[in-house]
């Protein structure tokens, strides 16, 4: 087992619900959005850990929480980066952490400042962390980073603005900006979902090659199980703020045990005519994390609920080595 770089225990992110008139009237009732509601996982060095689930289940919030990008008041639990408690780090340690842990966002159209050139964008983290020894050093590092991100020859890109780049090139610029600080951990939040098919594979391959070359670990956030399948060592399936199944990607994706994971696998497009497979599709959508159902939070949509699922919340139980799921049926 690779040494652990990130360890998350009982992470909760509860956002206060603004403009709740209930709150105004009684003053006592405080409603919260339980976006992440007690999750634990760990990521080893050089490992890709996929967090998979429908939109709104808390993936992005988890990603931001582990990078300390949220209001501290909302976050509880324990997040350890190389054994150090993130929520109690000193300023100097925090600075190191900010350098070593970076995020790549879903939408390269929004995450890049349209008025800055590629050079400005990629060199900015160096300025923030005062890392360049000289202008020449800065240029060199920017060029190296662009090259690492597959933008060659680099001179062709330095003076361009985001609108002069394709979607795939923009995502590469975002990756170059994240790489320039030589990170050890990247949160990649749906990094290819806005990109055209033909460039997706290139970006994913780039991520894998960076992992192989620099032992970078990834928290890879996706709603697409097929991407998790080709990329991840471990995978967790999230539903309404909780991890319902976690383990080696092979087990979780090819032999899912939780009914929700099974449903997710079931609806994946398969390149076969419809007659080839009858299938079950879950009804409705996940409820709002302000009103989380009692007991197992999946029970209202579960195709095979038991009476006790309404009352008791199941915990993650080990099924076989490292493969765990939270379901009373197991």
């Amino acid at each position: 087992m690779a040494p652990e770089i990130l360890r998350v225990e009982e992470l909760k992110v509860h956002f206060p619900l603004r403009s709740s008139f209930l709150q105004g009237k009684s003053g006592a009732v405080k409603k919260v959005v339980r976006a992440v509601d007690g999750i634990s996982f760990s990521i080893g060095e050089g490992e890709v850990f996929a967090l998979v689930g429908e939109s709104g289940c808390g993936k992005t919030t988890t990603g931001k929480a582990v990078l300390d990008l949220l209001e501290p008041d909302c976050v509880s639990g324990k997040i350890e980066f190389f054994g150090q408690d993130l929520l109690r780090m000193k300023a100097t340690e925090m600075k190191q952490f900010r350098r070593r842990a970076q995020m790549i966002f879903q939408d390269p159209y929004q995450s890049l400042n349209p008025r800055e050139t590629v050079y400005d964008i990629v060199s900015e983290p160096l300025a923030i962390h005062r890392l360049a020894k000289s202008e020449a050093d800065r240029r060199e590092r920017v060029a190296a980073s662009l090259e690492n991100a597959g933008l060659k020859p680099t001179e062709d890109y330095l003076d361009r603005y985001p609108h002069e780049l394709s979607g795939g090139q923009r995502q590469r610029v975002a990756i170059a900006a994240a790489l320039i600080l030589e990170p050890l951990f990247l949160v990649a939040d749906e990094p290819v979902s806005m990109l055209d098919v033909s460039v997706r594979a290139d970006i994913l391959k780039l991520m894998v090659s960076l992992r192989d070359r620099y032992r970078i670990s990834y928290l890879f956030i996706t709603h697409d199980l097929a991407l998790a399948w080709v990329l991840a060592d471990h995978a967790a399936i999230m539903y309404l703020g909780k991890i319902v199944e976690v383990g080696p990607a092979e087990a979780v994706i090819q032999k899912p045990r939780h009914p929700y994971s099974q449903a997710l696998v079931e609806v994946m497009p398969r390149s076969e005519p419809r007659a080839a497979r009858p299938r079950v599709i879950l009804r409705g959508e996940a409820p709002n994390p302000v009103q989380i159902p009692s007991g197992c939070r999946f029970h209202p949509r579960c195709p095979i609920p038991l009476p006790r699922c309404k009352e008791d919340e199941p915990a993650l139980e080990e099924l076989e080595s490292g493969h765990r799921a939270a379901c009373w049926r197991l």
């Binding site: 399948w229 994706i253 599709i281």
Partner: protein, 315 residues
């Protein structure tokens, strides 16, 4: 006679840099009640082809030549009044990104009712009732006619858009990437809904997507487009099992599959050509892994290879 028979359609946009030949000699037919998928990378002309069928091109777009025969009559010769009756009543479209097309400050029921009254001489009250029934048809609660768009989730808003597209009971519905921004689960629900409605109402459908694999759930046939042209068209089984055109094969491979190996497929090298200056010969030849000498000289014709299966490739 097919319900829709598109013959050698050419559509271009005029731009400062020149003419963009967005659709360049596209032909296909659609039978009553049939479902045809139209698939290809973004920019290959799918939306343009769809908009042309309804003659809804933006001002700088023009249908240069070709025929669009609907029940034997050429849509390109329709008068303004005939077009008005044709759109939505005969053929309707669920737009790409339609989820943001709803008016945020108007109740959803009123928006549907308005669409109905635009095309049918019914009273406001009857239109309201129809709107409610339509919402129920797309598996939303009828009382939600009183809700505003922001009170619906993305998937529910797309259901509302489907309700609108069905309002006049058209013979053909076009879905332009109707689920692109949605989760797999919601996508599966929407496709299932569309399928059951299509069967029940006997509609034909043209489904536009960039992901060939999703067509398996909904389509009888599929056409693969590249740079403004159809390179392969045939039964969906054939396209999945024995695609002939190298581009169709590349496209199918570029989506990772749960069934497949864990290694990532190679992406298609290079980028699609800009449609102002297309390469000579086969448009795919600069990116084709199986390119031959003839490919850069002669444009391959779309020729029949089997029953209802045609391919444009020299190989």
């Amino acid at each position: 006679m097919p319900l829709l028979d598109v013959q050698d359609l050419h559509v271009s946009f005029s731009m400062r840099q020149g003419m963009v030949r967005a659709v360049d000699g596209v032909s296909f037919t659609l039978e009553e009640g049939e479902s045809l998928g139209l698939v290809g990378e973004s920019g290959c002309g799918k939306t343009t082809a769809a908009l042309s069928l309804l003659r809804l091109l933006p001002p700088n777009g023009r249908i240069d030549s070709g025929k669009i025969l609907y029940q034997g009559r050429d849509v390109l010769t329709f008068t303004a009044e005939e077009l008005r009756r044709f759109r939505w009543k005969e053929i309707s479209i669920i737009f790409q990104g339609a989820m943001n097309a709803l008016n945020p400050v108007q109740r959803v029921g009123d928006q549907i009712a308005e669409a109905i009254r635009l095309h049918q001489p019914v009273s406001e009250k009857d239109a309201g009732k129809q709107a409610q029934a339509l919402l129920e048809r797309v598996e939303l609660e009828g009382r939600r006619v009183n809700d505003y768009p922001h009170e619906f989730s993305g998937g529910q808003r797309q259901r509302v858009m489907i309700a609108m597209a069905l309002a006049c009971r058209p013979r053909i519905v076009i879905g332009d990437e109707p689920t692109t921004a949605l989760d797999v689960m919601v996508q599966a629900q929407i496709f299932e809904l569309v399928e059951s409605l299509r069967k029940e109402l006997g509609m034909a459908m043209i489904l536009i997507t960039h992901d060939l694999s999703v067509l398996g759930d909904t389509c009888d046939r599929a056409a693969v487009m590249y740079a403004g042209q159809i390179v392969e068209i045939g039964p969906i089984e054939t396209l999945f099992q024995t695609p002939c055109h190298p581009y169709a094969r590349c496209l199918l491979r570029s989506f990772p599959r749960l069934q497949g190996s864990r290694s990532m497929a190679d992406s298609i090298p290079g980028t699609p050509p800009n449609l102002i200056e297309v390469p000579p010969g086969c448009r795919f030849h600069p990116r084709c892994p199986e390119v031959m000498a003839i490919c850069s000289r002669e444009q391959p014709l779309l020729l029949e290879r089997g029953p209802r299966h045609s391919v444009a490739c020299h190989g």
